[in-house]
């Protein structure tokens, strides 16, 4: 008795296993993840902020880890981390860098906006495609701020920061993997290791 419905279903399901329109490989099947815990979000932001106070950022094309994590949470937890948070952290970085007030704030706000606009789309892609989506966002936000700065200061700083943008985007999959670790469901984490 119990076999007959299965036997009826099997031949019907077989063609449906491959969808009529082939799904691109970059589109990941929806992972069921639990929402990130608030303390984890804030602790991760605090840690990258503290890391950003260290002198390794003297390298002209250093990636902006704080921006990376802010953007990641703007994509995955847009209700919790948004443009206001990005603005606040940007202001802190401005004071630390002894630069013009509002420079990092503007850049971070723009990136957070880009992330929030893209967040529904991005959640269907795997981490590498997300990074590809975010690269222009990082680049355009930085370009706008650099243009603004050179208008105010009267000098163009060169293009080394573009490498920093690329590095930031390249670190997205790693950061995403790390930041999503605690949100994996227990059974999910066993089946898909990556």
């Amino acid at each position: 008795m119990s076999r007959s419905p299965l036997a009826n279903l099997r031949p019907g399901r077989e063609p449906a296993a491959t969808p009529p329109v082939p799904r691109p490989k970059s589109v990941a099947p929806e992972h069921l993840t639990v929402p990130a815990r608030p303390w984890f979000v804030w602790i991760s932001l605090l840690v990258v902020w503290l890391l950003s106070l260290l002198p390794w950022r003297l390298w002209p094309s250093a990636p902006d880890l704080l921006l990376l994590v802010l953007a990641f949470w703007s994509v995955h937890e847009p209700r919790r981390v948004g443009m206001a948070t990005a603005f606040g952290f940007g202001l802190l970085m401005d004071v630390h860098d002894a630069g013009i007030l509002g420079e990092h704030a503007l850049q971070y706000t723009l990136v957070a906006y880009g992330a929030i606009v893209l967040h529904r789309r991005l959640q269907h892609f795997d981490l590498w495609s997300q990074a590809m989506h975010m690269l222009p966002v990082f680049f355009l936000a930085q370009l706008l701020v650099r243009a603004m700065h050179s208008w105010l200061a009267g000098a163009w700083p060169g293009w080394q920061w573009a490498a920093g943008c690329a590095l930031t985007a390249a670190l997205w999959p790693l950061a995403g993997w790390l930041l999503q670790l605690p949100q994996r469901r227990p059974e999910d984490s066993e089946s898909t290791a990556v």
Partner: protein, 326 residues
């Protein structure tokens, strides 16, 4: 993008576009205000005070490593330092007797002329906290601020000479623009013949530039530039830079020289901030650490001894008042 058309089930506050607009306008206002006016200094200071404990905490491991390293290398360090100091002592002994003689003579001459001067300067020893990453300017952030009596405009020196100038202070930190920063200009004179000039930072990375002097002025490679004391902000006689190259442009009638700074802000972590207030050359509040100015003063004596024909520089009183805001 399509989701915006759907009715909202949950209250979410203003839409993303409105928030973006407000924050971008706010950032733009901050940018323009901070570049054009100095009204944002209180905000910056308040944030800096909040930031300071975090900056110190984050840098603690580095400081610990440096200390352990120093401790492990103590014997070798002490030996090499001792040798260097011995050598320096022998070199300075001669200079100091000469300087003492000159000082006595100078004091007598000043008495004769009725000139009063207060040579005693108080100074604060500061340590580099960090170097802000910024493509446009050369800055250092020190670990003491207005709480230790540091104010914008005070000169910063090391054992080589002038390092730069304080441009911004917060209660616990202070920010100095190095000689090579584009905002710094220092009145200098040639040690050899007393020619008064102005040194600017900025155009050539890592160097200072001397501009606005006639193409036939007596300035050569290897000349040492010292502060002239014009403008009263930098005390006279501090070594500044050594001329590396002189470009004479016969078409414009002016020349410029590129000079290598004699101080080494990249090498050590301790510097001296001379407490000279901006309006006059009188020492600031004597509440801070009283440290004697190290052996630069003897070097001040030679230029006075050689009164040279002094071609009038095109700019007499240079703009040495720092511009603390960007």
């Amino acid at each position: 993008m399509q989701q915006h058309a759907t009715p909202r089930l949950f209250k979410r506050g203003p839409s993303a576009e409105i928030r973006l607009f407000v924050l971008v306008v706010l950032a733009m206002v901050l940018l323009v205000l901070d570049t054009q006016m100095r009204v944002l200094e209180p905000l910056r200071q308040a944030v800096a005070v909040v930031l300071y404990p975090f900056q110190r905490a984050v840098l603690l491991p580095r400081d610990a490593v440096v200390q352990v390293n120093d401790w492990l290398n103590a014997a070798r360090l002490v030996r090499s330092e001792n040798e260097a100091l011995q050598r320096q002592r022998i070199e300075l002994a001669q200079v100091s007797t000469h300087a003492a003689q000159m000082a006595a003579e100078n004091a007598q001459l000043r008495r004769l002329l009725g000139v009063t001067d207060t040579v005693s300067q108080s100074a604060v020893v500061v340590e580099v906290l960090y170097e802000p990453p910024n493509a446009f300017n050369r800055r250092l952030v020190f670990n003491k601020g207005s709480a230790s009596g540091i104010a914008p405009g005070m000169p910063v020196i090391d054992e080589g000479g002038v390092v730069g100038q304080i441009v911004r202070v917060t209660p616990m930190t202070s920010e100095a623009a190095l000689l090579t920063d584009e905002q710094v200009s220092i009145p200098v004179q040639l040690l050899r013949n007393g020619l008064r000039l102005i040194a600017f930072g900025g155009n050539v990375p890592g160097k200072v530039e001397v501009r606005y002097f006639a193409a036939d002025a007596d300035i050569r490679e290897g000349d040492t530039l010292i502060t002239s004391g014009v403008g009263k902000l930098f005390p006279a006689g501090l070594p500044v830079a050594r001329v590396e190259r002189v470009d004479r442009d016969s078409a414009s009638g002016f020349a410029r020289a590129i000079a290598e700074p004699l101080s080494h802000p990249e090498r050590y972590r301790h510097f001296l901030v001379l407490q000279i207030s901006e309006d006059d050359a009188e020492p600031a509040e004597p509440q801070a650490v009283q440290a004697p100015v190290p052996g630069e003063e003897p070097a001040a004596a030679p230029p006075a001894a050689e009164p040279a024909p002094d071609p009038a520089p095109p700019m007499e009183s240079p703009a040495v008042v720092p511009q603390p805001s960007r």
